[in-house]
């Protein structure tokens, strides 16, 4: 049975992947929670900043880049975890 928590998580992951597609200019249809941002998608520190700005623009998700630690950027799922935790604190 799908819970509302699962759905919210799935929605958030879809938002993050859509924002990544915009930043990287390519289709990420195969991306999952385990997809690695730097190794597999080729993200760099500058495009991470652009990702944060895109999330803020399109979805009102505001994240301070200086709060991000390397482990928050390991995978798509790790970014989602960080955003979810930030929103829970706000």
């Amino acid at each position: 049975m799908t819970t509302s928590v699962d759905e919210r998580r799935s929605d958030l992951q879809a938002l993050v992947i859509k924002a990544l597609e915009g930043v990287l200019g390519k289709d990420l249809g195969q991306a999952t929670a385990d997809t690695k941002l730097f190794e597999e998608l080729g993200l760099d520190s500058t495009s991470v900043l652009e990702l944060l700005m895109t999330l803020e623009d399109d979805h009102g998700i505001e994240v301070d880049p200086e709060q991000l630690e390397p482990e928050h950027l390991q995978t798509v799922g790790a970014v989602c975890d960080f955003i979810a935790a930030s929103q829970a604190e706000a």
Binding site: F38, E39, E40, S45, T46, V48, L49, M53, P65, E66
Partner: protein, 458 residues
């Protein structure tokens, strides 16, 4: 004044920087030295790990092709034996390889050398005539010179850092009357906010604005804004950081993007006595602002070439006045109307093009068209040089024909493999030597196709 005439590239550097054409050089490919210069500087907010990637850390092997038999090169591992055989087969005499004690994937060659007591012991035992010629001089290379008892061929890290700032580039261009992209240097948050206000008018006219770290690695540390909202977001991030740290220093430049037709990279050498030798100009191949390679000869008019050479001599003289000597590369652009912006940024260090010079002099026939480029692949397993050479087959460069794909770094191919069973990013660096553009393009397609047997192109 230094007489550079009749000297090959490195002999000119040797004479210009050490005063003696017979000085042995210890080459060190500390690519992305900008990371050291940027330490403790406030640029565009950064996120993530600041260590170089495993692939970038193995660009140290580019330096293998810069020196000759009397020189040395410090590398993180011994090169693939098949690759060394291939290079010797091209008639190249190679520097003696000095390997660091270990090779950790994301540690730069300089820091690996600093942690190498055996290597440092070997260097200390030398007779003191050799000089260190790093990719660029930072405090880490100064420390290596001290510990290894190895004098430097380049001026101090403080001089190098100062003249490599994009703020220095813009101010030097303005003072020398060199055409400059519209923009502003920002050394505080208040100056940045004022620049954003001025940039807003250009954004309203449909122009694009870039915010660049003064000490950023080429093609990185840049935020591109095509609407004011982006600059407002960036301002907010920068202001928040200043409030949190109580430090409102900043080192960025804000520039209005010019209407660009082509990127250029030109290269000159400044001697200790202020002599300047113009080395070459190449077209720079970029993708989204990130360096992807070179094409030469550059397709310029005689007037454009003359303007580039004149600018090189003026910048060289200015760098000499400010205490710099050594190799210099400058990024420039040809605008849509054919005019030049001949000074976008000064890179007072080796450039990617620097490492092509010796191969160019020894192997590339006059009149050739050369595309120097990289092929990034996701590799499921390491690839020995012999396998890559087999796969490239008749596309591999041969000395007798003077045509084909010449491998000018191989360590980056297998750099990412830390665990044998997991895929890793690998990068092939090749110089495609052809009789014309169409042949170079066909060779490019052939090489891409043949390398794809090893992994998925990135």
């Amino acid at each position: 004044m230094t007489d550079f005439r009749s000297l090959d590239f490195l002999s000119g550097v040797r004479l210009g920087c050490t005063g003696d054409i017979s000085t042995p050089l210890v080459l060190l490919g500390n690519v992305e030295v900008e990371r050291e210069w940027a330490y403790d500087e406030r640029g565009v907010p950064t996120v993530g790990d600041n260590a170089p990637s495993a692939v970038v850390a193995r660009m140290d092997e580019l330096a293998l092709l810069l020196g000759g038999a009397g020189d040395h090169v410090i590398l993180k591992t011994a090169p693939d034996p098949g690759y060394l055989d291939y290079l010797r087969g091209l008639g190249l005499d190679l520097p003696q390889v000095q390997v660091t004690d270990q090779c950790r994937p994301t540690v730069t060659v300089t820091h690996e050398a600093l942690d190498s007591s055996e290597l440092i012991g070997r260097l200390r035992a030398w007779d003191g005539t050799a000089r260190l010629l790093p990719h660029g001089m930072s405090e880490a290379e100064e420390e290596l010179c001290r510990r290894a008892g190895l004098p430097s061929a380049l001026p101090s890290a403080a001089v190098a850092k100062r003249v490599n700032s994009k703020i220095y580039s813009r101010r030097a261009a303005a003072e020398l009357g060199i055409p400059l992209a519209e923009g502003w240097e920002c050394e505080s948050v208040a100056e940045f906010e004022a620049a954003v206000e001025k940039a807003a008018a250009h954004l309203a006219e449909g122009r694009t604005v870039g915010v660049k770290d003064a000490y950023g690695v080429s093609g990185k540390g840049i935020v591109v804004a095509d609407r004011l909202r982006r600059l407002e977001q960036l301002t907010r991030m920068i202001r928040r950081r200043a409030e949190r740290t109580g430090d409102d220093r900043l080192s960025v430049v804000v520039e209005v993007w010019a209407d660009k037709a082509a990127d250029l990279n030109y290269h000159f050498t400044v001697g200790r006595d202020g002599s300047v030798r113009f080395d070459f100009v190449k077209e720079a191949l970029t993708d989204g602002g990130v360096h992807k390679g070179h094409r030469y000869p550059a397709r310029l008019t005689p007037d454009q070439t003359a303007e580039i050479e004149d600018t090189a001599h003026r910048i060289g003289a200015r760098l000499a006045d400010d205490g710099y000597y050594g190799p210099v590369g400058v990024d420039a652009i040809v605008c849509g109307d054919g005019s030049l912006l001949p000074l976008l940024e000064i890179n007072a260090r080796n450039n990617m093009s620097t490492y092509q010079t010796r191969v160019q002099e020894h192997c590339v026939p006059a009149g050739s068209v050369v595309l120097a480029r990289q092929y990034d692949l996701r590799l499921p397993a390491p690839v020995e040089f012999a396998r890559a050479a087999d796969a490239l087959g008749d596309a591999l460069f041969r000395r007798d024909t003077g045509r084909g794909a010449l491998v000018n770094n191989y360590a980056t191919v297998n750099a990412g493999f830390t665990a044998a069973d997991s895929p890793a990013d690998g990068r092939f660096y090749l110089m495609l030597v052809a009789s014309g553009q169409a042949e170079a393009d066909a060779l490019d397609a052939t090489v891409a196709d043949r390398l794809a047997e090893f992994g998925e192109p990135r």
